[in-house]
Amino acid sequence: MINEDKIREACASDKEHGFKLLMENFQQPIYWHIRRLVVSHEDAEDILQEVFIRVFRHLDRFREESSLGTWMYRIATNECLRFLNSRKEQAVSAEEVQEELMNKLMASDYVDYDNAMAVKFQQAILSLPEKQRIVFNLRYYDELDYEEISRITDTRAETLKVNYHYAKEKIKEYMTNN
């Protein structure tokens, strides 16, 4: 689906054209990644726009040792964490932030409540600690390998495997008992 070399070449010869290609290829997966982390469509929209503006600003300085996709997921994940941490800075605890996200899930114009199983599944994911949630989403939905997730989150691949295993167990338990 994504030919990163083609995007890199386009960026080198014509930044605007290259950036347009990059947006066409990445905006949907990056949006869904952000949405799963911050839940609200409106927040995800703002963060996505910020991510692409950052990418545009730093496109010239992008280091080629990492893949474009990994780089973008890293920027997006950092933006989400910054957004969630800004709530914690307002003297709101991690549990309260989690509760806020649950509330957003249950009161949104852009959630399909007819799909009760999918809503419950998202509730199960939101009940996970932040780090496990990020790892679970990147592995389960985006199908990134542990090495890529390791570069995105600055965490050792072995630790990520353990995180993913725990996350799956907790989700299973939530889905069975609730």
Binding site: E16, A118, V119, T176
Partner: protein, 120 residues
């Protein structure tokens, strides 16, 4: 006994939706913002160049046309820059002024500058 949850039953289903045409609009919005970013950069460059040229012109003017002031004649040749009393922090001040300007004001300025015959 409760039946254990199987991930295969849910797959990658998500309940999340987006407004119609959201991704097309997003591309347009980001593209509009990147154009403003580009203009900002160009405007900054133009202002820095203009400020530098203006400062250089003032220095040259004072060096070559000292206006016959007695002080100018008394100045020793190796202390010209100090003796002219010019504030060389002018271009730095202009940089700081632009850097500190709020984004929305700067955007407005960029838009105005597009119709400014002296800048285009």
């Amino acid at each position: 006994m409760e039946k254990e949850f199987d991930f295969k039953n849910i797959g990658k289903q998500m309940p999340y939706r987006t407004p119609d045409g959201f991704f097309d609009r997003m591309q347009e919005q980001v593209s509009a913002r990147t154009k403003v970013e580009k203009h900002k950069k160009q405007l900054r460059m133009r202002l820095v160049i203009a400020a530098t040229l203006a400062a250089a012109a003032m220095v040259l003017g004072l060096v070559f046309f000292p206006a016959g002031t007695p002080e100018a004649e008394q100045v020793s040749s190796n202390s010209l820059l100090v003796a002219t009393g010019i504030d060389y922090s002018y271009s730095d001040a202009m940089d700081n002024f632009i850097a500190e300007m709020p984004d929305d004001e700067l955007e407005e300025w960029v838009e105005l500058s597009e119709y400014d015959i002296f800048m285009n």
